[in-house]
């Protein structure tokens, strides 16, 4: 199966998509305030036209991989992380850049990103078939319970108030319920309007909730700051030496291992892994005193960790169908839009495609190296371009993309409505990641719910009576409680680390 997939990956269109994805990802990831999620959303409408769903997913994965590296570019040149996963990169990346060694920092970051990504992609390849064998006995009852697990975990770790996040997740499920019910043909909450009769499409909603919301916020900041730009450090020519490269390998290996394990746990995600890896690298380093002052090991630890999360975050998504964070939730949305349900059945029924996607992820990581080497300089320039060039392009693309979802103008109206709704949620301090996941999962959950209920003659206690399902539900509560406790601890630790580094940087600036 893997050999067949290997033949499928190396097509001209796949390679082209990986290239486009990496470059777009690097650019979006590099611009502070625009997240990897936005990059993936922008690419989604384009994938509509693709015949092979695998190609579509590979494109989106390439954006993810590129974005994770791209975040480090502005972290190093501007001291502003391009994405949340690159915060730890600023710890050492910026001091090194201050010393004029920008290229060295960027090279380290690229090398570490590629290594981290590769290690986790290989792990994904090895683990995927193993895990799918474990869960092969799952029926619709278990899948429904898995959906509950997924939403609960995301609600538990996003935002800082559990009740708010749960409400957000429920809102998402509700929004997806609106319109014609696929099984009974009953319309739900359409309030007699034709706009709501066919439901709220996933794409316009995601575009409005994530992409447009981000762009509006950034435009607002632009207006408030009067369009001032931070001074970027110039990129010099002195790259990383072979000896230096060898010296950072232990840090890379350790971080990749830690981050891969963390990334595979649903509900943890990339933002968390970087800090743990950074402090772990500092603890085990031969030169811990250099950390925070421009240590190559520090950059390597932070960057390899956030790229290592990409591959391992795909493990629960592909094998169990539950996403671990916002980005993987979006990827799940992409799967759904292309009519694929991730999970063990994907490996048995569409095995070649599953492996094509995994191999695509692997190749995207390999190609990141040459493309990163060639394009970093150009991408870094984009940060210096005024945001007023970028924003209109993104906004137009967003609206055009949401229109393209069905070709109906109602999508545009829904898009605007969701944007207003998302703004109200921001004011109320409600995180919209669980909402998005709820919208995406509703379709899968309801399908499994209906199948399970019909199979067991509407006996709803079945979800508690089937042993595996019961275990999943109990696990949901246990994981939720422990993850929330862990996240709180880690959050405090990270905050301490960020403060410490700020002080360190200030001291250096004075000196």
């Amino acid at each position: 199966m893997i050999l067949e997939a290997l033949a499928q990956v190396f097509t001209l269109s796949n390679m082209l998509m990986i290239f486009i994805g990496l470059v777009v990802g690097m650019i979006i990831g590099c611009v502070p305030g625009l997240s990897v999620m936005l990059g993936i959303i922008l690419m989604l409408p384009i994938t509509y036209q693709m015949h092979d769903p695998a190609t579509a997913i590979i494109l989106l994965l390439a954006v993810y991989v590129g974005g994770m590296y791209g975040g480090s570019i502005s972290a190093i040149t501007l001291n502003t992380p391009g994405t949340n996963s690159a915060i730890a990169t600023t710890f050492d990346g910026y001091p090194l850049a201050k010393k004029g060694k920008v290229k060295k920092a960027l090279d380290t970051s690229l090398f570490a990103s590629v290594c981290g990504g590769l290690i986790s992609a290989i792990l994904l390849l090895v683990c995927a078939s193993f895990i799918t064998k474990l869960v092969a006995g799952f029926t619709s009852v278990e899948y429904f319970s898995m959906g509950i697990l997924g939403i609960s975990l995301i609600a538990g770790v996003s935002g800082n108030s559990l009740p708010k996040s749960i409400i957000s997740g429920m809102l998402g499920l509700l929004m997806a319920c609106i319109g014609m019910d696929a099984v009974t043909g009953v319309t739900r909450y359409s309030f007699g309007t034709s706009v709501l009769k066919y439901g709220i499409d996933l794409l316009p909603a995601m575009i409005a909730l994530i992409a447009l919301t981000q762009v509006v916020q950034k435009l607002r900041d632009f207006r408030l700051s009067g369009g001032k730009l931070d001074d970027a450090n110039k990129i010099d020519r002195e790259g990383i030496t072979r000896k230096e490269r060898r010296s950072i390998i232990p840090a890379i290996l350790r971080s990749s291992a830690v981050a891969s394990i963390l990334g595979a746990m649903p509900g943890v995600g990339g933002g968390v892994a970087q800090f743990l890896c950074y402090s772990e690298a500092r603890r085990t380093s031969k030169h811990p005193e250099e950390f925070g002052k421009g240590s190559l090991e520090g950059i390597a630890a932070a960057e390899s960790s956030n790229n290592a999360v990409v591959g391992s975050a795909m493990i629960p998504l592909l094998t169990l169908g539950i996403p671990g964070d916002g980005v993987t939730a979006l990827l799940l949305g992409a799967f759904v839009l292309h009519g694929i349900t991730p999970g063990p059945t994907m490996f048995t029924k569409q095995g070649v495609m599953a492996y094509t996607i995994i191999l695509g992820c692997l190749i995207a990581n390999i190609l990141l190296f040459p493309i990163g080497l060639a394009m970093t300089r150009g991408v870094a320039k984009i940060v210096e371009v005024r945001y007023t060039y970028l924003a209109p392009v993104i906004i137009m693309f967003c609206f055009a993309g949401s229109f393209a979802a069905t070709g109906n103008t109602k999508e545009l109206i829904l898009c605007a409505a969701c944007l207003i709704f998302s703004y109200i949620l921001t004011i109320l301090d409600i995180d919209n990641t669980p909402l998005m996941l709820g919208m995406i999962l509703e379709d899968i959950m309801e399908k499994n719910f209906v199948t399970a209920s019909m199979a067991y003659d509407r006996d709803y206690t079945i979800f508690f009576r089937r042993p595996i399902s019961l275990v999943i539900l109990i696990l949901t509560i246990l994981l939720l409680v422990s993850l929330m406790k862990m996240n709180k601890k880690i959050e405090a630790l990270n905050q301490k680390q960020i403060e410490e580094m700020k002080k360190e940087h200030e001291q250096q600036d004075v000196a």
Binding site: K164, L212, R223
Partner: protein
């Protein structure tokens, strides 16, 4: 921009929003309203196909929402656990204006088409953001035309061209 003298004093205010309390009240009201409306908005199918009632999933979601809204209100009023967000009109005005402009963009797109709507709205947005360079304006209009034809030629999607053409 749009606010008149009369409104200015009112709009210069800073609010402190008790987000737990207000989230609880708003979301609780929404879920309660939706639950009350359920018999009218979600009809039970005329014949029994053996499938579970279409009301179950939205119903369960609404009840959970209602419960956690009450939890939020309880947290705020009884436990005094509150997350206060300061709503500074000066800072939020640009965001609200931009969202309003994007809504106008949608309305225009449906009536006069994608290219014309983009040209009108983005000229306003750019002017509002304080852009003075003429090149940016030309660039934006060119991009609008470019995206229109990109979607038409490459993705086979005809973006709205307006009811007048």
């Amino acid at each position: 921009m749009g606010s008149t003298h009369f409104l200015k004093g009112w709009f210069n205010m800073k609010f402190k929003i008790k987000t737990n309390l207000w989230s609880g009240i708003i979301m609780g009201a929404i879920s309660l309203l939706m639950l009350i409306l359920m018999p009218y908005q979600v009809r039970v199918p005329a014949y029994d196909s053996g499938a579970p009632s279409p009301r179950i999933i939205p119903g369960v979601c609404l009840v959970i929402m209602l419960v956690f809204s009450l939890v939020l209100i309880f947290q705020s009023l009884v436990l005094k656990k509150e997350k206060i967000v300061e709503f500074d009109w000066e800072k939020e005005k640009p965001a609200i204006l931009l969202i309003a402009l994007l809504c106008a963009y949608v309305a225009l797109m449906i009536t006069v088409g994608f290219i014309a709507a983009s040209a009108i709205i983005f000229i306003i947005i750019l002017a509002y953001c304080g852009e003075r360079k003429p090149f940016i304006y030309i660039f934006v209009i060119a991009v609008a035309i470019g995206i229109y034809f990109l979607f038409k030629m490459v993705f086979n999607v005809s973006l709205p061209s307006g009811m007048f053409f």
